[in-house]
């Protein structure tokens, strides 16, 4: 969130965000369709594929932007509990109602529909070209365990669009030095206020005494005493692994076990000896700097999801491919390149059993083969491939089942339902325990809003003045 970027002075702590330069979809027949920042160029690009879709583009972008404007101020607010009669919750509900109604009746209906439709149906209301729909639909499924025809995916698109970089809504950016640079800058900011970080200290259990937290114990046997413990882990991991079941209400444990956090994506990090060519794009096309997808139709997207449902990785996966070293040469030695490939769908288990090394190699080859079909010199440039299936994402990063959002973005796990109904205000089921990860409102993506919101709630409980930005300030 830009508010946090400014408030924590992340630029001073070394973070540079370079705006992304668009995205492009390449079809197997060599056609392509790109994203451009200039609206008029974009309209012409769509019109090239279908004249009516060119006209529809303005309507589409206006509607989506209006949705983003509505949701943005809600990101840095604690969701109200609609079952509560506390003045604060009622005030917050009324505030939400006002925000909701201020854009007029039509907007309300559009919003209700937007939140519940499938991305395919939603795009179908604007566009005719299957390729344009496929091109735009990727944002509706990334990180989710749903297909483009699954109702609820239109919201996921919105979730991907609600970021902003340098004041342009819906824009994506690269952190110079990779995503690690974001974490380093935030850590540096935290330390500058006197905060301490212990690394190599995996927490094994939360200590509960007399119904409230007393601290944590780490794997190496250390105990840290604290009156307040905040978990950045996903809710399922937090409550099924760190807590002694006896310290929690059985109903709550059931909720935590049933929390939907199915992994659906994997990643390949590829070191290259040179820049791969994509004949469909040509050598000087600026779209090479952005995200590259290989798609022909919505059906291809949906079939990829069917494979996931059947317990295997997609035979024709959806790829979101980037070569960040083109934008940021500091990431690789001179002349070499780094390609980051996000892959969907990849199930957390193969036909109900754990991933094997053969599975991982099969998965790797599926992805490399697909890229090879669009880039003839790609395979000869490969120096090293690192494969991240949900197994590795879980083991190394601690994301349960490799779910990148720490919990699926479906209606039962959004807003006041996230992570669990009745626990959406960052407070856990034990006094002194809080949650601040993507498993809480407003959810995943590197936006850091859950952390800020949790901090605000904790300060409130401590009866300390709140320093955390709230809502949204336009500047």
């Amino acid at each position: 969130r830009p508010e946090l970027f400014r408030d924590l002075e992340l630029a001073r702590h070394g973070l540079q965000v370079v705006p992304n330069r668009g995205a492009v979809t390449i079809t197997i027949s060599g056609d392509d369709i790109g994203n451009y920042t200039d609206e008029d160029v974009q309209r012409r690009e769509f019109a090239r594929h279908n004249p009516r879709d060119g006209d529809a583009y303005h309507r589409y972008s206006t509607d989506v932007m209006r949705q983003c404007k509505f949701i943005r101020p809600l990101l840095l607010r604690t969701p109200p509990d609609p079952t509560s009669f506390k003045p604060r919750d009622i005030r917050e509900l009324i505030h939400l109602g006002r925000e909701f109604t201020k854009f007029g009746e039509q907007f309300i209906y559009d919003t209700l529909r937007f939140y519940t439709m499938s991305i395919a149906d939603f795009l179908g209301e604007y566009f005719e070209s299957d390729l344009i729909k496929a091109h735009l639909s990727g944002s509706g499924i990334i990180g989710s365990a749903m297909g483009v025809y699954s109702p609820g995916t239109a919201y996921v698109l919105l979730h991907h669009y609600m970021g902003d970089v340098d004041g342009s809504i819906g824009a994506w950016g690269f952190a110079r030095g990779g995503m690690g640079a974001v974490s380093n800058a935030i850590a540096s900011a935290y330390r500058s206020f006197g905060g301490e970080i212990a690394t190599d200290a995996p927490v094994e259990r939360v200590i509960v005494r007399n119904g409230r937290v007393a601290g944590v114990a780490t794997a190496n046997g250390n105990e840290y005493r604290a009156k307040i413990v905040v978990s950045n882990l996903d809710p399922k991991r937090t409550f099924t692994r760190l807590f002694d079941e006896g310290d929690l209400n059985p109903e709550f444990v059931k909720r935590a076990r049933n929390f939907k956090i199915r992994g659906s994506s994997g990643k390949l990090n590829i070191a290259l000896d040179g820049l791969p060519e994509f004949p469909a794009l040509g050598r000087d096309n600026p779209l090479r700097f952005g995200d590259i997808h290989f798609l022909d139709s919505l059906e291809k997207m949906e079939r990829a999801y069917d494979d996931w449902k059947n317990g295997t990785w997609s035979k024709e996966p959806y790829l979101d491919l980037l070569i960040p070293s083109m934008t940021d040469p500091t990431m690789t030695p001179p002349g070499k390149h780094f390609m980051s490939v996000f892959v969907q769908y990849v199930p957390p288990k193969i036909h109900g059993r754990d991933w094997t090394d053969q599975d991982r190699d099969g998965f790797k080859n599926t992805v490399l083969d697909q890229i090879g079909r669009y880039s003839p010199n790609f395979k000869s440039l490969i120096r090293h491939v690192q494969v991240r299936t949900p197994r590795e994402l879980e083991d190394e990063v601690g994301l349960t089942e490799g779910n990148i959002f720490q919990g699926e973005l479906t209606m039962d796990q959004l807003l006041f339902n996230r992570p669990f109904p009745g626990y959406a205000q960052y407070r856990g089921p034990v006094k002194g325990f809080y949650m601040c990860g993507s498993g809480t409102h407003p959810g995943g993506g590197v936006m850091a809003a859950p952390g800020a919101n949790a901090a605000r709630e904790i300060l409130l409980d401590l009866k300390r003045p709140s320093l955390v930005p709230e809502g949204w300030q336009d500047d």
Binding site: T116, Y149, P151, N417
Partner: protein, 522 residues
Amino acid sequence: MTDRNRIIIIGAGHNGLVCAAYLARARREVLVLEASDRVGGAAITREFAPGFRVSACAHICYQLDRGIVRELKLASHGLKAAHADLRTVALATEGDHLVLHGGKLEAGLLPDKDRAALADYHDRMLRFARVLGKQHNRRPPRIGGGGRSELIAAAMLGLDIRRLGREPMREFMRIAGINIFDVLEEAFETPLLKGALALDAVLGTNLGPRSNNSVLTMLHRLSGQATGVTGGLSLPAGGMGAVSEALAAAARAGGATVRTGCPVASITLEGDRVSGVELEGGEKLAAGTVISNADPARTLLQLVGARHLEAGFVHRIRNFRSKGMAAKLHLALDGLPGFARLAAQRAGERLVIAPDPVYIDRAFDHAKYGQCSPDPALEITIPSIHDRTLAPAGRHVLSAIVQYAPFDPRASTDAARAEFLERTLGLLERYAPGLRRQVVASELLLPADIEREFRITGGHWHHGELALDQILMLRPVPGAAQYAMPVNGLYLCGAGCHPGGGVMGAAGRNAAHAVLAGERAA
């Protein structure tokens, strides 16, 4: 012109007839025009082979509103049930069937855990369904627009949800938007049980068990049952057509005129208000109010015509999702089929073939790509067991809803129909060995056939998908959800309006109230 006082209703489907009966009761001059040669629309009983009669579309009556049955005195107009409380039998090929009655297991084996969970599940869902059921007889509120009455109506809805109590309300808000697959997965272990319950959520819809919204469609189905006349699943004596006949009799008794064989070609306008209708034969009939029982697209795009409407509104109507995915199978049999290890008296219950939710989901996957399911899911009734008027002595009719069949199959409709029939009969043979040899005649209606025969755009039983974005104030489209269309004097009264399809009649009654309220306001 005296005709200003006349009200024309296009279509004698059950909702059109309910609307006619209520307006006639209110002493309005009502003329119902039906295109086919009999009343009922899709709620008819017809002969599909010599001597064999069957409910041609919906075949189980469970949603017909209790209030309507009482107020229109349908019993005195001849409505009675051949069987008022069907059980559901989840069929298993090996014969380990489950017989379910509400939340109770009446026969078959279930682990204790599932048995307890079933009672709890049924109880919980029924409570939620009642909240929805309460909305059926109300006009959906407008939000953000309109005046104080709209605010009150919206508040009533909120209040109904709050009255559930804190934990149930949380649970309701948690599951209302998600899919039945996940909900069943949380609660049960036995695949056969989950399959039967999942089928309830997707029957007649364009959803698979894993599609979000399928909890809502299940609650919608259950809500009709909760407000329905029997509170259970019933078979009307004489088939579904008997319901329509009783409704037509009630409408006529009130003074309404019902003309069959009069297809309407267009709705005529005078300035910005309706002036009547023109029949396909060229005859013009004047009226001050026109109510259409046809689906929204047919009414507005064909009968009124897009050029008379505002472009944004036309766009929304065009995007109303209304492609059906349910096919209907009718078999004339020369004897009672023998389902493996199923007692003969049980064969008259509601039989379902849905061995587990994944099976249904696979069936759905094919339909997404324009193919009929190779292994479909079925809801079967053999109504002739309870009602001897439907088949010659010793013979039987089997009626089944078969899912999924796409509206526009990749293969030609004829090829798709032939293959789907073959697959379905093959599947039935596995459950009831010998059934194929008993078949005397058969008929399979794909959604495209349903569109043609019943004049329902898209062949969707509910006139349009029941989903969160197409219910309540969003049905059929925002700005037209209160029965009055954006042409003065034009109303909709069919399943395309709140509260949607199923032989319920609530849309017809609500529309009648909206027409009367509109007169008072004018």
